[in-house]
Structure formats: structure tokens, C-alpha cells
Amino acid sequence: MLRASDPRLLARLARLELRARTAVEGLAGGRHRSPLRGASSTFAAHREYVPGDDLRHLDWRVMARSDRSVVREFEEETDLTAYVVLDASASMAFGSLEWSKLAYATWIAAAVTRLLVIQNDYAGLAVCAGSALAQWLAPHGGERHWQHLVGVLENLQASGTGDAAEAWEAAGARMERRGLVLWISDCLVDPERAARAGARLRHAGHDLMVLRILDPAEIEFPYGRTTRFDALEGLDRLLLEPRAVRQAYLEEFEQHDQALRRGLRGLQADYRLLRTDEALETTLVEFLNRRQARLRRAGR
């Protein structure tokens, strides 16, 4: 049975809004600890414990008195600002599955912004096309803003070449309020440039979370027959025997990934590599955890 956030299920849904809602709603009944309520400090009400609830929220006193298992719920009262920086450069058009990296990225962006709106946060969107900042939606809250944002995401086309780190820096310059920055990209950039762009964000007081979206074929390089690889960015063409270079490719990939991780780890940024055949659920949970951490640091 497919989970609600399984990309194979999401791919079958017609609209991005529906995809985002489906992914987000799926979090509530999941096996994971629910992140949607109870993360703030204002008490709201008790409710019956259901498996999967955070044991830290069990109200031990009520249990002692009434022998009932109840958990405490808190009201959300936050004005967290989150910026989703989405890479829509030409390389994001690649996809060995039925969906491309860009499609997967928009699903995540839509779901994440949905979470933010649900929890009364502000969500902004920056779309990068190669080295250029193609679109900028300033952070706002509310359902209408989210609808607008989803509309933008739904119409995105992969285009543009160049170093995405330049666009990230341009987007960083537009961020007036400190908050949580979420880079969604395949990160096929120079690790040093990426670290430099991240460092500027950190210096500006932002938290940084990087979601690296990669197709399984880019990670495993499963090609067998003689293949001509045409560059999605640029005009390069390489005719080669894939099995002959596979090992070297994987090593190059690993080196690049390690360099990227090292650079971001130094900035205390979160880095997660996402395969496009992977369910969105874990990612969304991790995002919410990161949001909580940000709120804790802010003293709320």
C-alpha cells in the first residue's frame, strides 16, 4: 500500500495543491511522531493518547489521578519566516522515473509551504534558473498566499544554466527577515561556492536546510549499453561505454557530495540527499523538527 507521501502516488495526482495537501495530511496518522501540534509552549487541551504521540507530551498528573492516558496539546502561536529557494535550472529536468527532479522539488516545496501556512508561519519562495534569480515571492502567511505560491510552483519550467550558488546569493540578499532558508536543488554546483553562499545566509542570521534532490540514475549510474549523454545545461555530448566509466563516475559523485557535506556541516546547516523515488514524509518531518529547533533558539 502506498503511503500518502509516496511519490508514485503523488505523481498520479493532477494538481500540485492536491499533492501538497495529500502529503501533509498523510503526516497526521503516520507512524512517526506527529509534528503538527504540541510543538509550541501554550497549552490548548488534553486528548486521548494515540500510538505515535510524543511520550514527552503525556500528562503524568492526569494519568495518576484518572488512570487515563492523555497528552497535552499546545496552541501554535508563531510568526516564523521560512524561505524556500527552489532550483529550477535545466539540470533539474532530468528524470529516469515518470517524474523529473524539478517535479519532485515542487512537490516538496508545496508541501513544506503548506505546513508553514497551517502553522501560521510565513512562507516565501525564490525560484532560481541557472545562475539567475527568476522569481521572488516575499514571505506571507495565510491560505491565499499559499494558493498563489502553489500556482507559481505549478507553472515552473526547468531552464537556465550557470552556477546556482550565484542565484542563492541573490535570493539571500532579498531576505529581509531572519528565518529558516530551505535550499531545494540538485546541488550540481561548486561545493565551495555553495558553502560561500550558505555562509552569507548564516552570517545574516538564517538557519539553513539543504534538500539535495537527485534522480536514482544519477546516484547509481545504471546504464549498460553504449550511450550518448547530452548535457541538459549546455551543448556537451559524450559518447561512451557507461560501464567502463561507472566506477570513476561514482567516485566523482561521492567526492563532490562529501565536499558539499563538509562545507555545509561547517555552517551547521542541515543537509539531506533525497532520491526522487523516496517518500516525502521523512523529509517533511525533518523539516518540522528543524522548524522547532529554530523556534527554540528564538526562545518561543
Partner: protein
Amino acid sequence: MSFLRPEFLWALPLAALPILIHLLNRRRFVRVDFGAMEFLRRALRRTRRRLFLEDLILLLLRTAAVLALILALARPAVDPGTLFAGRPARAEVLLLDVSLSMSHREAGSSAYERAVHAGEQRLEDLDLARGDRAALVWVGAPARRLAYGDPMEVRAALAERDRPERGRADWAGAFDVAEKSAESLAREGAEHIRITLLSDFQSSGFDLAGGDGAALESLAQGGYDFDLLDCGAQRRVNTAVVGLEVEPAELSPGAYGEVHAFFRHFGGEPRDGVRVSLFLDGVPAANTELSFAAGEQKEWSTAIAPAETGSRALEVRLDGDALGEDDARSAILPVRPAPRVLLVGEPAPFGEPANVFDTLRRFLDLGEGAPVRLEAVAPGRVDAALLDLTDVALLADPGPLPAGTLAALADFHLAGGGLLLAACAQTEPGDAAALLAAVGVEGVELDGVIDASEPSARIAIRDPQYPPLSLFRDPRWQPLLTEVPVSRYRLLRELAPAGAPAEAPLQLQTPLVFVRSTGESATPAEGDPVLLQWRGGGRSGAVWTAPPLPGWNRLAELPGGVLPLLFDLLAHLAPHAGHSLLLEVGRPLEVELARLPTDVTVTDPAGSTQRLSTPAVALAGGRARQPVLEAAPLDGVWTVLAHFLDRDGSEQVAVEKVAVVLPPAESDLAALDPEKWSVLLPGATLLRAGDASSVADAQPQDSSPRDYSSLLFALVLGCLALETGLAAWLDRRRG
């Protein structure tokens, strides 16, 4: 290096197959739009050199496997002595027997074809680049060198000719040519010279005790290696036509002649039911069936009476056998109308006894259908117009002849007309001398009268083979001529030629003589000439001193054999072809014509005609000799058609036929006793063509080529195993 199956070398371009497949594979690929190109570029930069080397090694192994397979199939034979080091230059002198007997077939191939094949094998290993040379001697008649120098060119010359000749093998000439060739090859640096005889070693083809042996002995002194490669058949059985004759040699229309065909069966097995046919101008005339015991010779005779005049072609054929060329033989039978004889003389005055003219006219004037057509004329009325219609002028015991008659007779005779001087009582020596001088005959002298009444004389035969005497070769008829009593006769002498010989000396012949005793001491060799004939320059004539004359001899009363002798003698003296009607293959072919021709064509036995460009040579009396061929190459009937202008300017056509026959000795296929070779060539070995040993054993020990195909097959397997192993290891490593 050479190849035993060189036809496989055509597949060499297939060695490029792996490269082509590699290139084609590069054209068949999957296209992928890819994002992470930078990783790919770096990966390729890191691996390019290694991948190129791996691919190159695989490609080389595959190409080497295909190449080695093709070479293995072509079966390379390499002289191990020359593989790693040079060897001395070698030379091969091939003597190829192209005599008729080499046409004999057995098991689908002729001795000649086997000889050519063996010769090609001999030349296979020679390499011009190493200084090797070769020579090919064509052992026909005459022998000649066909090719010399580059072994490939010699091989091409060998393969160019697909059949032997029809004549004999001139081995003496061939050994001379081979000796000169070997000496040249030695001068050009050949250190090892081998002389190979490719022949059926037919016993009748070699005269080892004579000229052939002497020439071979001279050749053997050069110290060369000799190989005798017997290409002849295992079973040497052959039936041949060895002769064809007609008696008489010339016929008048409708007259009967007898054809004698001679056959011989060579070989140790009898042969039955051999069908024999006789053809006259290509039309079947008679046939029979013969059986032969081993080695038997047979004669078949049949009568023939051709009606049409002309040179008639006779051919006798028998059922074909393994040597088909000698199963037929031709001959030419001239069929001429009865000769026109002009009897020149005066009848005896009324009341006197008949003279020679009278008796000859009585004898010869037999009317229509007689063997001669006679016209009598007085000496004073003889002129050129009359002589133009005459074949033979018969002078009946003439006295002194008028100058005009002498001149006309001289022209007539020099132009080929026959002349018979019947000298008896009236012809004085001076008269005869004047006539003979006028017609250009020297060495014949008429003298006085011999009284032979005591003891009585008679005519004797000195030369039984003289054609007009053919009737009297039979002992039953001989007395008709030789036992007629003679009482007186004119003495006739044949003089030794004085001074320088004439340009075209006449041949003198005395077939009949008078002997004056019946005792043992009187032999024809000692007798006085009765008949003295001269021949040459296309003309013939005779003086006859025994014409029938009452009171001299009793020939007029008892004519006996005189009449047939006269008929045959007049026919014999009539103009005949001045050339031989029978010729052996390889001999010069020429014909004699009555006039210089304006145009001449020749048709060979196969029916192809060509115009002759060689001019005819003028002879005395306006006659001409036309050379046709330096050596007649084909047996059968050759026809020469000559156009010329007659005295009156009209165009005349003369048809001359010559039968060319095969040398009968070539039909005897019996092989020469090897012992005879060993005397002249002690070191030579007699090998059989077609046996594996004929090639392998004959190679010099230090240079026998080895077949390296098995080594190459092993190399193919090695390459394939290595390629498979390497490809599997690379597959594993590349995942």
C-alpha cells in the same frame, strides 16, 4: 613462404571485421539527456587512457584471431631454413615434354595436364626476391625456351598453354637449350640448380644411345640435380592408325584402286570390336570391325573407285581411345583424267615394215576410255598451242628435229610437261644429244647399237620400287616384261655430272636395264639402261631404248608387259604435284604451282582459312613454289587455294591438298626402362607425378617447406581464449 590453399587469401579483408563491428557499434547508441555531465567529464578524463588501451588490446586480439584463422585455412608453407636466415638462391629448369603422346588421358587428366601441374608445384617455392630463377624448355619439335627468369613469369607461361603439340619431342635440342639455360642461371647467381624432366618417358621418344644420350651426357656434366617426373599413365594401352596408302598412288576417274590402312595395337591387353571407317572427302566409303591381340599390327584393305577428278581426301578412323589424336589418319588421292599424249613421229613409208611410231600408235590409240588420250603428229607440226593441250610428249624414235620443234618441246618440258624419248634405230646419238641439251638434261648419253643376238639379251628390273613397275612386283606378271627376247638395242649411258652442279640438279634413275646373259653373273646392277628417267624442277622425262620394233625385239609381236608399262610410264611422266602430298606434323608445308599466284589462301584441318602473305618463289618454266607454313602444327588435310592468271589472261584457280600425318612412333606409349636413365644420370630419381612424394621428396632436404596451419589454428584458439578472459575480467571490473 608459399600457401598450399592460396584461394583463402581472398578472405584477408575479413580481418578488418572486428574494427568494422567496433565502428558500427559506436553508431548504435542510446541517447540520454543528462544533468550531471561534469562528473561524467571528470570520470572520462580519468579513465580515457586506460579504456583506450583495454579496447585496443581487445580489438587487436579479435583482429589477430580472424587473421590467424584465414592464414591457417590458406595453409602457409614456410621453409624453416629461410625463416630466420637467408638461403642460397635456387633455380629450376623445367623440360616439358609436349610430344603427341602427352595427350594420352587417364583418370580424367592427360599426361600433359599432370606435367603442367607438377611443374607449377615445382615453381611454387621459388621467390624472385631471394634471387630464385626458373626456365621453361618446351620440348616439342623443335625444342625451344619458352620463359626464363622470374619464376612467376615462368609459371604464367606454363599455365598459358593448355595442350601439347602433335609431333615428336626433340630431346637432344631440349637438353642443349637446358644446358645453356642452366649455365646462364649459374652466372646470374643461382647456387642450387635443379633440372626436372616432365614427361611420360615414352621409350620410342628417346634415343639415349644416339643424339639424345650425347646431349644429356653433356648436360649432366654441369653437376646439376636431376629429377625425372613421370607424368604418363599407369596403363599404357593405345590403338593407332599408323599408315594409309593407295595403290596405285594416282587414279583416273572410275578406275579401281586399293586402299591399305595399317593399324597397331600397343599395350599388353587384347582389344576386340574396334570399328574402322574409311571416308572419301568426308563421306563414308567403307567400314569394318577389327580385333587386336596384344601388340598386334593389322592391315585392312578395301577397293575404291572415285569418279570425280581432283585431289581427293581419304581418311581412316577407328573408335576413339585414351589417345584420340592418332585414331585417324589422312591421305591424298589424286584422281586425274587419262593423260593426253602427243605421239610425235612419222609413219613408215608405204610397203616398209612398221616403225616405232606405227607400233606405238597401234598400241596406245585405244579410243574412248583408254588409259591415255593419244594424238599423233609429225615433228614438223609440233607447236606451243598443240603442246598446251598435252601432258606427255612421246617422241617415237625421232631423227633430227626441226629447231622450232626443239624450242617448243623445251618450253613445254621446262613448264612441267612430261617427255618420253623412245630411242631406237632411227635416233642417232647426235639427235638425242640435241634434244636433251634443248630441254636442259645433262648426264644422259645415247650411243651406238648393241647387237645382242649372241648371247640373247633380255630386260631386267633394277629398281622394283619404280612406280610404273608396280604391276611387275607381282612374280606372276614379272615374266611378261623380263622374258621378252631382245636381239639389238641402243646403248644408253648415265654420265657422272661434270663441273659445278646445276642450280637444281635433276635426279636420274635407271629402273630397267638390259642383261645379256641368263647366267648367275648377269645381274641388273651390271646391265645397260633400258629406261633412264630424270626428275626435278617440277618436271620429269625419260629415255626408253626398248620400244617395240620388229627386227630388234619381239615386243611388237609379244607385247606382254610393254603395254601396261607404257600406260603407267606415261601416267608417271605426266605433270604431277611438285610437292609432297604426305607430310609429318612439324615439317615445312609448301606447294608447287603451275604459275606464280596472285592470291593464295590456306584452310587448316579444323576448317579455318587465312590468306598467305609469304610470296611464292618463281621456278623454271614459269612454275612457282609457295611456302605455306614453317611447321605444320595439325594433322589432317590442309587445302591451298591459289589464284593465278593464265596465258590468255583469264583467272584460274588451283586447289592443292596435302595430308599431314602424325609420327607413328608417338603412338607407342611404352615407358623407357629406368635402368637406361641410371646409366646416364646415376643420381637422378624417377618419380611419378601426382604422388605426394613427387613434390615432397624432390625438395632439397635443407629447404622442404613446412605447413604452419596447425600452429596458426593454435594461435586462433589462444587469441580467442585471451580475448574471452580479458573481456570477462573487464566486465566484472566494470560491473
